[in-house]
């Protein structure tokens, strides 16, 4: 598949998602819609992996690059951020282990319950 065709597919999915986002009665990020839409197209077999393979590898491989401009945008909000730097850091750092703890233990408990069930059904 030509690289331009691959790009056209990915951009097309994004374009359709913008349309869907505009139709929705609530504000929902178009980029998340495009991810769900592309996943649905892949799962249904309408789009095959080889149709978007190279574009995907390029975008995923260089992902962080695309976040540079929004990060530079902080310059416009320097005062707001400086005014709340401490709470900003406290919240960003402290909540991370809490999320880890809850997520991991919910899954561990569910898996343990599933194993128990399997064992008892074997008896």
């Amino acid at each position: 598949m030509s690289i331009m065709a691959e790009i056209a597919i990915v951009f097309g999915v994004c374009l359709v998602s913008e349309g869907i986002a505009a139709l929705l009665p609530f504000t929902f990020p178009a980029s998340v819609i495009s991810m769900i839409l592309l996943l649905a197209l892949l799962l249904s077999g309408i789009i095959k992996e080889r149709h978007i393979d190279r574009v995907c590898r390029f975008f995923v491989g260089n992902m962080a690059f695309f976040f540079i401009p929004p990060c530079v945008g902080i310059i416009e909000h320097a005062e707001t951020l400086a005014a709340c730097l401490l709470p900003f850091l406290v919240i960003s750092i402290l909540t991370t282990p809490v999320i880890y703890l809850v997520t991991a233990w919910v899954i561990q408990l569910m898996m343990a319950a599933r194993r128990k069930k399997e064992v008892s059904s074997h008896d």
Binding site: S34, M35, E49, V60, I75
Partner: protein
């Protein structure tokens, strides 16, 4: 001539690509998680703008063209989840319930702390999606009236914390199940954490990349109800 250069979108494009290459080079030389190429590149550009008194709007012309691509960047995450569909089917319920619990904890703890620390509303909204991958987090923050730049910074801090301390968390919280470990890393520190999860093990890495997508979807849905 200076005016012509500064008013061209190529200014932002060229500067960003160059700064990114410098960032990659520094990361390679030092090998430190903190020397993230994104942080270095953004810091270099900010420094350039401040030192030479270049208005942000000159940079923004080219910069906007790059951030426009965040849409496609998020879309192609679908291929990640598609490639892991077998694993996802096998552990579907624990994974989805675990991600849901993680997202609820994330949003709940952030809102609670924001209230407790008397953080401004616009900052609170910007912090809320900080545990999901940057592209989705910024889109969520923007649609809720937050400041994308602050979200990007918070996402970066959370991701670095996860990437640095993930093995320590597993030990401290006695997490032994590889599926639980992988999902937890992805849920609290998205793609940056996933790089660490891949080092810990292939199953952890795969689970972590599944968590990026699922948590992204769950978080954007949950914020609709706030």
């Amino acid at each position: 001539m200076t005016d012509a250069i500064l008013s061209s979108p190529f200014f932002g494009l060229a500067v960003t690509c160059l700064a990114w290459c410098v960032g990659l080079w520094v990361q390679k030389k030092t090998g430190l998680v903190l020397c993230n190429p994104l942080v270095i590149a953004a810091a270099l550009i900010i420094l350039l703008l401040v030192v030479f008194r270049i208005p942000y709007s000159s940079y923004k012309q080219g910069g906007d063209l790059i951030s426009m691509m965040l849409g496609p960047v998020t879309a192609v995450l679908a291929l990640n989840i598609y490639n892991q569909r077998k694993l996802l089917r096998e552990y579907f319920l624990p994974v989805v319930v675990g991600c849901l619990a993680g997202c609820l904890t994330s949003i709940g703890s952030i809102l609670l702390l924001c209230k407790f620390l008397l953080v401004e509303e616009s900052i609170a909204v910007s912090l809320m999606p900080k545990s999901v991958t940057t592209a989705i987090a910024m889109a969520v923050a923007e649609s809720q009236g937050g400041i994308p730049g602050i979200t990007a910074a918070a996402v970066l801090v959370a991701g670095s914390v996860g990437a640095m301390f993930a093995p320590l968390f597993a030990k401290a919280f006695r997490v032994t199940n590889p599926v639980a470990e992988g999902i937890a890393i992805g849920a609290c520190s998205h793609a940056l954490g996933t790089t660490k999860a891949l080092e810990i093990g292939p199953l952890q890495g795969a689970m972590s990349s599944i968590a990026i997508c699922i948590c992204g979807i769950i978080t954007s849905v949950l914020t609709l109800f706030l």
